[in-house]
């Protein structure tokens, strides 16, 4: 038997900012990341950017996954990124999924959101990206 090697699992916060009430996608992603061996803190619906960043700090996560279908991403995501910076959480990598038009996606990438998944993204693709982001190879 090997001495107990305790490589810490990747911790990821999955949250839905704003007021949309559709969390099926976020739950499916949470489950897929769990099956990939990650510790997923599921913060659920109707989170303000302040609550999301606070949870990310307290839970000391490596990644934040934001899910949004309401169209308010250009109001909410920049706020999350700004608060993260303010709380010295810039090391935490953010990815997002939902209904996000291409022109918004490129602006959000410039703000530091590492990956953005649209309705056609496969779970495999999302999991692989999360793993790469956590390893620092993406």
């Amino acid at each position: 038997m090997k001495a107990k090697a305790r490589a810490a699992p990747v911790r990821v916060l999955i949250a839905k900012p704003g007021l949309d009430g559709h969390d099926r996608g976020a739950k499916v992603v949470a489950r897929a990341l769990r099956d990939a061996g990650m510790e997923v803190i599921y913060a659920g619906l109707r989170q303000t950017p302040e609550e999301i960043v606070r949870a990310a700090v307290e839970e000391d996560v490596d990644l934040i996954g934001l899910s949004i279908l309401s169209g308010a991403h250009m109001a909410l995501f920049p706020r999350v990124m700004a608060l993260l910076k303010k709380e010295k959480g810039s090391r935490i990598k953010v990815f997002a999924g939902g209904i996000i038009p291409d022109e918004d996606a490129s602006r959000l990438r410039r703000l530091g959101i590492r990956a953005i998944f649209g309705p056609g993204a496969s779970l495999g693709e999302i999991v692989q990206t999360a793993e790469r982001l956590a390893r620092g190879t993406a």
Partner: protein
């Protein structure tokens, strides 16, 4: 990336730096040396506050109760640290930690710190590091720490060794009164909470528990209190907290409690020695030729495993 030296990190935690506290919890949780050093440094600041454990089967409303207890404590001006444990998958090692979803609070309230923990393979309803995480929260200055266990089965009683007051949360219709006679979960309660008491059957559940409590004999002289609560139309929360406080007051005045604290620390020390010895031995069994020969002899049926083990722990053994 620069990492502050332990003393700097400890000072930051005591000062109330939430990020330092969060990082320290991660270190302790993963068994990193930085975590050990911090615990060594902060241990003198622990052992004074109520550590309240909430346990009970899954779905009885532990997270919702914690949310309401936190609100109650905040309205009384007391700060609260929460550790909520959910199970890790035995297959992938991953987990979904969903207790935070029940928490509803102002994002800028510094008087609450909530941390989700995965059990990471530990049995008994907690993670191995839960006790130490509660210590970190105390050292960070919180007035009360609430610990939520994994949804528990009948024998998940690890919370016994961690909490100063154990609340067993149940709901109506979990079973007839014979269930209350069984060993395990029902034996560790300082307070029974019958949650979802707006449902029919709450009176019967309370009566069964009251009979159980009256049967005694509580070895330390405390008789478990029973409180009815509801979290949908919130009721019973101040009563629940009063029952917890009554138990804490009882502990403070109880001579048996000092002995109990000592016994628990003895248990912890013995547990840590067991882990450490097992770890070192497992390492040496792979690398030390003398120990490998000992195992060869057991394999060849020249020696039995029990005798081999005795030789290994005998002082000054050379593995022969």
């Amino acid at each position: 990336m620069s990492r502050p030296r332990p003393s700097t990190a400890a000072a930051a935690i005591v000062r109330g730096d939430r990020r330092a506290l969060a990082k320290a919890i991660t270190a302790v949780e993963s068994g990193a040396p930085a975590g050990d050093a911090l615990l060594r440094e902060l241990y003198p600041r622990t052992g004074r506050i109520p550590i309240v454990g909430l346990t009970g089967p899954l779905g009885v409303g532990k997270s919702s109760l914690i949310n309401l207890l936190v609100a109650h404590l905040r309205s009384n001006g007391r700060s609260v640290g929460v550790v909520a444990v959910d199970p890790s998958s035995p297959f992938s090692g991953g987990s979904v930690l969903g207790d935070r979803i029940r928490l509803d609070r102002r994002a800028d309230d510094p008087g609450i710190f909530f941390r989700s923990m995965a059990s990471r393979g530990a049995s008994g309803g907690l993670a191995d590091a839960t006790r130490d995480v509660a210590r970190l929260l105390e050292a960070a200055g919180f007035d009360v720490v609430l610990v939520e266990t994994v949804g528990s089965g009948q024998v998940d009683v690890a919370i016994r060794g961690v909490a100063t007051t154990r609340v067993v949360v149940l709901v109506p219709h979990l079973g007839d009164e014979v269930q209350t006679l069984k060993a395990g979960l029902f034996e560790i309660a300082d307070v029974f909470c019958v949650n979802k008491s707006d449902l029919p059957g709450a009176e019967t559940a309370e009566r069964d528990l009251a009979e159980l409590a009256s049967l005694g004999p509580a070895p330390d002289g405390w008789r478990a209190r029973i409180v009815r609560t509801s979290t949908t139309a919130p009721s019973g929360i101040p009563q629940l907290w009063s029952a917890i406080e009554a138990h804490e007051a009882f502990l403070a005045a109880s001579p048996a409690h000092a002995a109990e604290r000592r016994r628990r620390l003895e248990e912890e020390i013995v547990g840590r020695v067991r882990e450490e010895v097992a770890r070192r031995l497992a390492e040496r069994l792979e690398t030390d030729p003398a120990l490998r020969r000992l195992v060869d002899r057991v394999l060849a049926r020249e020696l039995d495993p029990r005798t081999a083990a005795e030789r290994l722990v005998a002082p000054g053994h050379r593995g022969r």
